[in-house]
């Protein structure tokens, strides 16, 4: 169904009548361009985010916009949605030039955007979220019953299962995304921009989303999928536009592309994405062991409900799960940043439950936190200061009173070289580095200590493909030298590529631990959703 329309030219399809009455049912030709952007230029201080980019999306088309972080794909779409104003360039809708100054203008042009971070008001119901900002038929009173009816109609038409009366805070991530799509549809959007929509979904939810997108495409909607995942782009798009460093690399029909070719377009060179692993190491001794660990989250709710795991030397143990199922607490508990209310944590057979973070670190624990900008570095510290942050009191970097500045400078230059950190200088404020380079800095600080145990939480989230490649390489190298790694990730491809075993966490419990050889994305997906597949 997803590809059923490809190649059918000149087919007349009727758009459905939308209950808001904002757009009348219009007939249109498939494959006619809905939106065209020409010569778009957008500058930010010091960066040319979009450099004369052309882009168009047709009716009934799913057009993928592919590129690394900072390639300009989000910027381009934010321009189309009225969040940024371009310095140069023209935007046409149905062949007529339009100006879009705000999201309101964009909505008026039939353009909707599903943001990566959902723009929903948690405390309101689904219906209230949809009605927000719309003119009511009974102004100044609300007409929620009418909105609810419209939501039900759209739900049925596009397979978007939502309870209109549910408060948003009770909904799962997948359901929230449906509410976002519903908001756009209800406003009469004929085109949807989806910013990394699958990043937060389970594989099953991804499938459901793709089915919905398929229905929409069949009904003549134009869809733009912003993504950096080659596989999904190849699976569902009709055409692909690749951006690199703000420039258009090309727009190509999907059927003519392979993964390798796309990766080359994205990065500008050949990329080794799949690493061949060394043959299995013999199971080493257990470096990290968690026994029935229980802990609470920041709001005092139970977050870990009896987690038992062990990681051996020379092994990468993956932890898969949808965000918010206890991963953050798990990492913090091991790092010593969160007290546990039950169970025990052991390193090298020694209970470390009562140890401070510093003591654990000295004993060979390394930690790559999820929130790298908040927990991984001090943003207003120089690169060199962040590099020695952990060990600045050790004999290496100080004599007990004063820091050894000369040595720190030499050491920092070495690290910058060894870990390919791109920075103008060792005194540069760390906040000015890109996400990928900050992650390299953290990696440099943590791995150069030759740790015995590494806890890495979402180490590749939101960073460019080059840095990801490097991080993978480092993790595997360290593994081969005997480090025990706990890798917490929401990216199943990543886990399947790197891990020896994969544990799945759901609502603070380990659903199962699978050997990589027996793990499949489908099975992991079910476990992540809390379903134990029949064996």
């Amino acid at each position: 169904m997803l590809t059923g329309l490809r190649g059918i030219e000149d087919q007349i399809v009727y758009g459905i009548a939308r209950p808001t009455g904002g757009h009348r049912a219009v007939n249109f030709r498939l494959n006619a361009p809905y939106v065209q952007m020409y010569g778009i230029v957008k500058r930010f201080p010091g960066v040319l985010a979009c450099d004369h980019v052309d882009f168009d999306v047709r009716r009934g088309e799913l057009h993928a916009l592919l590129g690394e972080n900072g390639a300009g794909k989000s910027t381009l779409m934010r321009i189309l949605y009225g969040l940024y104003q371009p310095e140069e360039g023209r935007i046409l809708r149905d062949g007529a030039e339009v100006t879009i100054h705000s999201p309101t203008d964009a909505i008026r042009q039939g353009i909707g955007m599903i943001h990566q971070h959902f723009m929903l008001v948690d405390t309101l119901t689904v219906t209230e979220n949809v009605a927000l900002g719309l003119k009511s038929s009974r102004e100044p009173l609300l007409d929620l019953d009418r909105v609810e009816e419209g939501i039900r109609e759209l739900s049925e038409a596009y397979g978007l299962q939502i309870d209109p009366r549910a408060p948003v805070w009770t909904l799962s991530v997948g359901e929230r995304q449906r509410v976002e799509i519903m908001k756009a549809l209800y406003r009469g959007a004929m085109m949807l921009i989806l910013d990394e929509p699958t990043a937060v979904l389970t594989p099953q939810e991804v499938d459901e989303l793709f089915v919905t997108l398929g229905y929409m495409k069949d009904n003549g909607y134009s869809l733009v999928l912003i993504s950096h995942k080659l596989q999904e782009v190849l699976a569902i798009s009709d055409r692909i536009t690749v951006l690199r460093s703000g420039r258009l690399v090309g727009t190509v029909p999907t059927e003519e592309m392979t993964r390798q070719e796309l990766a080359r377009m994205m990065v500008g060179r050949d990329v080794m994405l799949e690493r061949t692993r060394e043959e299995e190491m013999d199971a080493g001794e257990v470096r990290l062991r968690l026994e029935d660990v229980q802990a609470h989250d920041v709001t005092g709710q139970p977050a870990l409900r009896g987690v038992s795991l062990s990681v051996q030397s020379g092994e990468i143990l993956g932890v898969a799960g949808i965000s918010g199922n206890g991963q953050r607490e798990l990492a913090e508990v091991i790092a010593g940043l969160r007290p546990i209310s039950g169970g025990s944590v052991e390193m090298d057979g020694t209970p470390v439950t009562d140890w401070t973070t510093a003591r654990r670190t000295e004993s060979g624990l390394a930690y790559i936190p999820e929130e790298r900008m908040h927990d991984g570095i001090v943003r207003d510290f120089a690169v060199s200061e962040n590099l020695v942050l952990q060990e600045h009191t050790s004999d290496k970097f100080s004599n007990g009173i004063f820091l050894a500045f000369d040595y720190i400078a030499r050491y920092s230059r070495q690290m910058i070289q060894d870990f390919y950190i791109k920075t103008p200088d060792i005194r540069t404020m760390t906040r000015n580095l890109s996400g990928g380079n900050i992650q390299r800095l953290i990696l440099a600080r943590e791995l150069s200590r030759r740790p015995k145990v590494l806890v890495a939480a979402q180490p590749t989230r939101g960073i460019d493909i080059g840095a990801i490649e490097y991080i993978y390489q480092q993790l595997l190298e360290q593994r081969d030298t005997g480090m025990a790694t706990l890798l917490i990730s929401e990216d199943l491809d990543e886990l399947l590529a790197l891990c020896d075993r994969i544990a799945v966490i759901f609502e603070g419990q380990i659903m199962d631990v699978l050997d990589r050889s027996e793990a499949s994305a489908e099975e992991l997906g079910l476990l992540m959703a809390g379903v134990r597949p029949e064996k």
Binding site: M113, M119, D122, E128, L132, G133, E139, L141
Partner: protein, 310 residues
Amino acid sequence: MFDELFTISTLIGILHSCVRLATPYLFASLGETFGQRSGVLNLGVDGIMLMGAFFAFYVVFEGHNLWVGVLAAIAIGVMMGLLKAFVSVTMQSLQGISGIGLYLFGLGLSSLLFKTLIGSVEGVSGFRQLAIPFLSDIPGLGHILFNHNALVYLAYLMVPVSWFVINRTTLGLKIRAVGHNPEAADTLGVSVNGVRYTTMMIGGALAAVAGASLSIGLQNVFQENMTNGLGFIAVALVYFGSWRTIGVLGGSLLFSLVNALQLWVQALAIPVPSEIAVMMPYIMTIVVLAFTARQIQKPAALARSYERGE
């Protein structure tokens, strides 16, 4: 020694006072509820009350109709609300500090105007008791509930009205959305600043009427700092009431009951040091706030200014 408090007629008297004295609390805290639900903390309520109290009093003192006095208070309240909105919404200054500034401004200006325009403590004849026919004849209850001045009835009317505006109108939906997730509201074309200006004007108007209810309704005089920090209690009541109008009503009644008790204890010359009696509402505020741990309903964007970002 407390026997005298527990005669039927005294109890009726206390409850009547309680209903009556809740008036300024209700106006002020309902107004503050609008602001806080939209994400703006206005600590300047007390200053606005003083300004409202003064202007209402001055207009009546000059011989105008009582309702003209109320309108004058509303006008000055809206202006004070606009000032607060300009400072904390447009200029994005810290809401707590700018609220204190507004309070001091209202305190100082009302005192200055009082000294220059009136000079000495004078009385006016304020709103009279308006017994509602038949209902006020119900024994006991009739006197407690239906024998008050117009501003008292208006204050209680504002409870369902405020609830309705917040929960059943498009403006109310915008207020709730802006207070919880201004970014989401902004992407749907809701003017975050516009909504916050609106709630600041509503809140300012209600706070000023709260002041007027003192100067031309309950006490019928104007004195410097006559509110004695009542506006701050009103802010606390919003927390106490978990940002709900019904909770605010409950809180207002609780505090006015303490106040009424305090007055009657003094009036009956019960030998409790009057300082202790006067302190009771304030002690109550601290105790109540300390135990009000329910922050679930709290608008997530409360006291945070909004700027369209990346």
